[in-house]
Symmetry: C2
Subunit: 141 residues, 2 copies
């Protein structure tokens, strides 16, 4: 049993990246930022769809959206065709914030990946994508 296996490394890296993000003045958590980024990319998305994209439970997303809505970064607009559902839309305040998020993400990426060649980063990215796919596959079927 090794103490430097890949799972341990990943756990550490996530924790370290979280620390790095907390040094910024974004005043939001990584998942909040992520949800906001997704809304900006898929404006009008419904919560169920977004929860599926993020692979989290709808209730987990609901609370994220609560926070973002309370901060007036996004809003829930009633779906005209389905009175149960809401579409998620950006509000004005989010535009400059999204720019800051982008800068911050770039900063952390650069810090994390420094010293790695483009090729290494490409292999890393591909390997992580494969791992994601492998782990998403539901073997219980």
């Amino acid at each position: 049993m090794q103490t430097n296996n890949i799972g341990f490394l990943l756990t550490d890296i996530i924790r370290l990246m979280r620390r790095e993000y907390s040094k910024s003045d974004l005043c939001m958590t990584p998942m909040q930022a992520r949800a906001l980024v997704y809304v900006s990319r898929y404006e009008g998305v419904k919560q169920v769809q977004l929860a599926e994209m993020l692979d989290i439970q709808p209730i987990t997303l609901a609370r994220l959206i609560d926070q973002l809505a309370e901060d007036r970064l996004i809003e829930r607009r009633p779906d005209p065709k389905d009175r149960r559902a809401y579409g998620l839309y950006l509000m004005e305040k989010s535009t400059p914030l999204l720019e800051k998020i982008d800068i911050e993400v770039t900063r952390v990426h650069e810090k994390a990946l420094q010293g790695l060649s483009e090729e290494q980063v490409a292999v890393l990215r591909d390997a992580l994508a494969v791992m994601h796919t492998n782990l998403s596959a539901d073997s219980s079927l």
Copy 2:
């Protein structure tokens, strides 16, 4: 701003690995398992040292140790030379559990890494190690 950046990928993979581990019958959390593995590798280690190895706060580790000690997997033995400190030692019950952990870690690794060549895995592992080092560096100095 991309929705498939490396930080997002890592976050997802950690969550998916956690789910995968929860399917096992280990009845312990990843961090508990990790702490147990470290104790098995560095038997007699003191809590402060172990917290440093895991790069977590001493209080975070203290609670992990509480849980493992309550389950009679490890024990705190008073340090003969320092009455403030304890050495951490395995108890009998942990031997078969460590074997099960090893099997489970191998299973999840194989599921996560399937389809990747040995070379890709090697690059992945190296890249993650570099990222860990990069992010551990305290740039505030």
